[in-house]
């Protein structure tokens, strides 16, 4: 029963998470600060003038050599020839998206790292007594053990605990397949 409730809850939760994700992206997107557009003109060496790069914040329409290159290094009659050589590119970015993405990414990595340390260092200490009661299970036993830790607990905490145990077992199985027996992915 509880597992089916969890199943039912999972779908909306996923959708919600997804919506939040989209929301974050769109918020980050909507608010485009002025420094997020640039028109970059690269002008190669010309006569005795060395190559230059010009960047200005102008609209896409105005993104050409005449509006961006300032001060013009050549006298008036040479402007056309000089500008022919320049290549102007209009570029956009969203600094907020970058910021949000990197921060989310770093926090996910941080959380995973903490959880990993917890699993590797703290968890074995807490569960020391369990190791005596549940000796190392063979694969044949795992079938019988599964209903035992099936997340049938009453409280949310017990259910989470059960789910965590099941997950750990799965990962252990995967680790055996990949790293020890080299059955998959080698």
């Amino acid at each position: 029963m509880s597992s089916s409730i969890a199943q039912n809850l999972r779908a909306p939760a996923l959708v919600l998470l997804f919506l939040v994700l989209i929301d974050v992206v769109s918020i980050a997107h909507a608010d485009k600060s002025f420094e997020d557009v640039r028109c970059k003109c690269i002008c190669p060496p010309y006569r005795n003038i060395s190559g230059h790069i010009y960047k200005r914040n102008v609209t896409q329409k105005d993104c050409n050599c005449l509006h961006v290159v300032e001060p013009m290094p050549v006298p008036g009659h040479d402007v056309e020839a000089y500008c022919l050589l320049c290549e102007c590119k209009y570029e956009e970015r969203s600094s907020n998206t970058i910021k949000v993405t990197i921060i989310i990414y770093l926090s996910v990595v941080g959380a995973l790292l903490l959880y990993m340390l917890f699993l590797l260092l703290v968890d074995p200490l807490i569960r020391k007594h369990d190791q005596y009661t549940i000796p190392l299970h063979n694969e044949e036993d795992s079938e019988d053990v599964r209903p035992h830790v099936d997340g049938r607990g009453n409280t949310v905490l017990e259910r989470v605990e059960g789910a965590q145990q099941r997950w750990k077992k799965q990962v252990q199985e995967q680790r055996k397949t990949v790293f020890d027996r080299h059955k998959l992915l080698s």
């Binding site: 996923l14 997804f18 190559g51 960047k55 969203s94 600094s95 995967q174 992915l185």
Partner: protein, 768 residues
Amino acid sequence: MAEADGTSSATPTEEMNGAGNLMDFLDEPFPDVGTYEDFHTIDWLREKSRDTDRHRKITSKSKESIWELIKSLLDAWSGWLVMLLIGLLSGTLAGVIDLAVDWMTDLKEGVCLSAFWYSHEQCCWTSNETTFADRDKCPQWQKWAELMTGYTEGAGVYVLNYFLYVLWALFFSFLAVSLVRVFAPYACGSGIPEIKTILSGFIIRGYLGKWTLLIKTVTLVLAVSSGLSLGKEGPLVHVACCCGNLFCSLFSKYSKNEGKRREVLSAAAAAGVSVAFGAPIGGVLFSLEEVSYYFPLKTLWRSFFAALVAAFTLRSINPFGNNRLVLFYVEYHTPWYMAELVPFILLGVFGGLWGTLFIRGNIAWCRRRKTTLLGKYPVLEVIVVTGITAILAFPNPYTRRSTSELISELFNDCGALESSQLCDYINNPNTTRPVDDIPDRPAGPGVYSALWQLTLALIFKIVITIFTFGMKIPSGLFIPSMAVGAIAGRIVGIAVEQMAYHHHDWIIFKNWCRPGADCVTPGLYAMVGAAACLGGVTRMTVSLVVIMFELTGGLEYIVPLMAAAVTSKWVADAFGKEGIYEAHIQLNGYPYLDQDEFTHRTLATDVMRPRRNEPPLSVLTQDSTTVEDVETLIKETDYNGFPVVVSRESERLIGFVQRRDLILAIKTARQKQDGVVSNSVVYFTEDAPQIPATNPQPLKLRRILNLSPFTVTDHTPMETVVDIFRKLGLRQCLVTRSGRLLGIITKKDVLRHMAQMMNQDPESIMFN
């Protein structure tokens, strides 16, 4: 009726209840019936017929009420909805990966002081350094040594930067491999061989799970930014497939039917390539040509839609800041000449040779990893390879930067604007021409030193990629393969260019290369070389050319790309039939029936079980087996299914029942159905058998019986049997002679037989 008789002693209400319960019980299928265990293959035929049943039920119900009609419409649309969600999520994840990789790659060298989350390029977005000399410098961006010591030049600074570069690389890769090891071991590798196997109908539980999705996304960034010789494209296909699986679980149409789920996964693979390369059409073709097993037209359209949504999402995130999906967009449109086909074909030959070398070397190394002590130290292996890569990569400017940037630079033509060493040509001061049309020029000292460095980079990439692919971190091989090809191509391109410049009077150059004309574009050679090398490794043709042209936007260059792709396929095929993915499938012994023809003259009777000196086939009879007999049979054998016959004497076939379904049905019946004890008779007929009233209530199991098992006669050639297995996706096939059941051929038997015929160890096939 018999059940009602059995409970006749009960009070009327109880009888009602009992009957009601019984009806419910019979109506709703046993829970979990029709699911498969880990490492089993699915029965495509059964999945298809189950979907048809479901569809029929919904259609007939939809006429009953408006609500049911709406439900049926929703059901019909759920496929497209899943595609939309997959496209959105995989596009978003790809954007996140691109941005994070961009930042972390640059983190190895320095940091942006104004905002730490900016990469070098982003950091200097508005900087005012205008001269070419310091176009890459800006005060906000500081290298680590500069930040620590305050100096920008000097041997000490170089050594410190070197040291920190290696340290960061080691840190990233260590983090990646430990995350993979602790949280999701299935997240390692490229994933395409496994996805191919899964799409062909194999079950690997957890391979497309949520943890795999999370860990693969996170560690992919770490692996790519550690500077190892690997790319993100293959793993992105895996990530997209995980997204597909995730959204499948929202809709019972897909979560309960493994066949339908695979249709979604095929489309998800297309979305994955679509975001990896920014090549939506190429993604669809990749899924069709390389990954998918069963690809009906409906899936083609859905893949198209998913690829479109994914590309659109990625484009709106705009990770590269250039309003393009890809890093490799080339802007030149210079023509190519017929005579250039010769070097293009030579590049194709090189690509084929590289493909062969890579596959042989990598498979040999992976086999070592699988069987020897090497496999015991996955973390150490990753650390050592990263260390070697970083130490060797840093001194060479072409290997220090990220591989995609390298490819991007190699693809580009040398305009007057380029400041890179590769474009250090000697300009004729007298001519001023527009930017686009620069004549061939003699190479300057920069080009020659670049050639040296590129040659070293080429050797380095060739060697290190062989050892990198297959380590226990997410690793794709598209980008490294393309890099090898692009380097080789650029070298050839420069050579041809210089030859054409210095020897206009040679006959071959006379017609197409006059002095002062721009006739050879080295960037194009790099493109062709990249396509050839990728083709040699993966043996793709159509999708490869489409991906390349979507990647570079060079519509004019389809013919050179095609020539190179086809040549590299020919050359590589001459040395070995299979591409890298098939080779890995074979190495791991995945049960994958490939599309090659089976040409041996064996018959079904040679392959079927039981063999001549083996005990007879374990069968169930339609109405004389007891529950206890069935349970003993299940306990004593490990067969995945049992044929049901009329009686042991006549051995005429009724149907086939799956082991898992049988176990579940008996377990459920024992728990829920009164009167089912060990002595109860199990029957598969429509009506209960005539049994004395004293016997316990019989158990009807017709619901789980497959009444239309596939049968062949014992003299059917194996060629046909293999074809049936391949095209229909069977799991097992029964062998009969004049209506009598003789034996059974399972997919495992077919695969083992094929392995035996190809002189391989038949026991290496992984199968439960």
